[in-house]
């Protein structure tokens, strides 16, 4: 897994590539814990180059979303396709987290 972090329009945009599985998720989760701050509690996970996600990845996303919400911010997802889109949909994560087509949509002001 590769995790690339940047700030955009007041959001922390985290680009996650390749696989979020049982062996790579601990690294991703560690990075998320480092990144999360009360100053910018709004995060976007860009999955446009993520190929694979398992329940280990889902657990980590949910834990991150809960932390951000507790800080008064939130988590959104973008760039879902293929298996990743299917897994997010089957697990109903698209009903608890906002999902956007791409990063630009995710960081645009929403009413």
């Amino acid at each position: 897994v590769e995790v690339i972090v940047k700030n955009q329009e007041g959001f922390v945009v985290v680009r996650v590539t390749q696989r979020l599985d049982a062996s790579t998720t601990p690294e991703f989760e560690k990075r998320c814990v480092e990144i999360i701050s009360a100053d910018t509690p709004r995060m976007v996970l860009d999955f446009s180059n993520l190929e694979y996600i398992s329940s280990a990845g889902l657990r980590s996303i949910l834990a991150t979303a809960k932390k951000l919400q507790a800080l008064g911010g939130g988590l959104s997802l973008c760039g879902l396709s293929g298996l990743v889109e299917e897994v997010i949909s089957v697990s109903g994560f698209d009903r608890v987290l906002p999902v956007y087509a791409g990063v630009d949509d995710a960081v645009r002001p929403h009413s």
Binding site: A22, Y52, S55, A56, L62, G82, L83, E86, S91, G92
Partner: protein
């Protein structure tokens, strides 16, 4: 005389340890691709196998005495089957109902999604207890 219609199963043994999950999933993906499973279905199988194997490696054996896990694969004319066996305590992962999936983030519980994903991503899933072994079977249809 051997019938051409009886698919030949291949069985491989792995240590049932969490550190082996990546190796087991990669092995399975290789077998599935080799036996003609289309790419998207291979990914769904990888996920189903990761979930099943993680359960076994985490719960089937005591931490101080990890056991063995067998992966058996074969393909018929229109489906690919993977069976995963362990000799841990009897455990039917399918006995439990799927978790509730409330729309409210606060009400969501972290975890418990693995078996549900398996049920949704493969075409058939079965459990049996046979001769002191847990046998977990997953089948996908092979079609483009």
């Amino acid at each position: 005389m051997r019938s051409a219609h009886i698919p030949e199963a291949v069985t491989r043994s792995f240590p049932a340890r969490v550190e082996e999950v990546t190796t087991i999933v990669a092995y399975l993906a290789g077998r599935a691709a080799e036996l003609g499973v289309p790419d998207m279905r291979v990914m769904q199988l990888e996920l189903a196998v990761e979930e099943a194997v993680m359960n076994i490696c985490s719960y089937a054996y005591p931490a101080e005495a990890p056991g063995e896990l067998l992966v058996r694969t074969w393909a018929g004319p229109d489906c690919f089957t993977v069976e995963i066996e362990d000799t841990g305590d009897p455990f039917d992962p399918l006995a439990r109902a799927d978790p509730d999936l409330p729309d409210d983030l606060d009400a969501r519980v972290v975890g418990g999604l693995g078996i549900m994903l398996i049920r949704r991503l493969v075409d058939d899933v079965r459990y049996r207890r046979e001769g002191g072994r847990n046998v977990f079977t997953m089948v996908v249809r092979i079609e483009e």
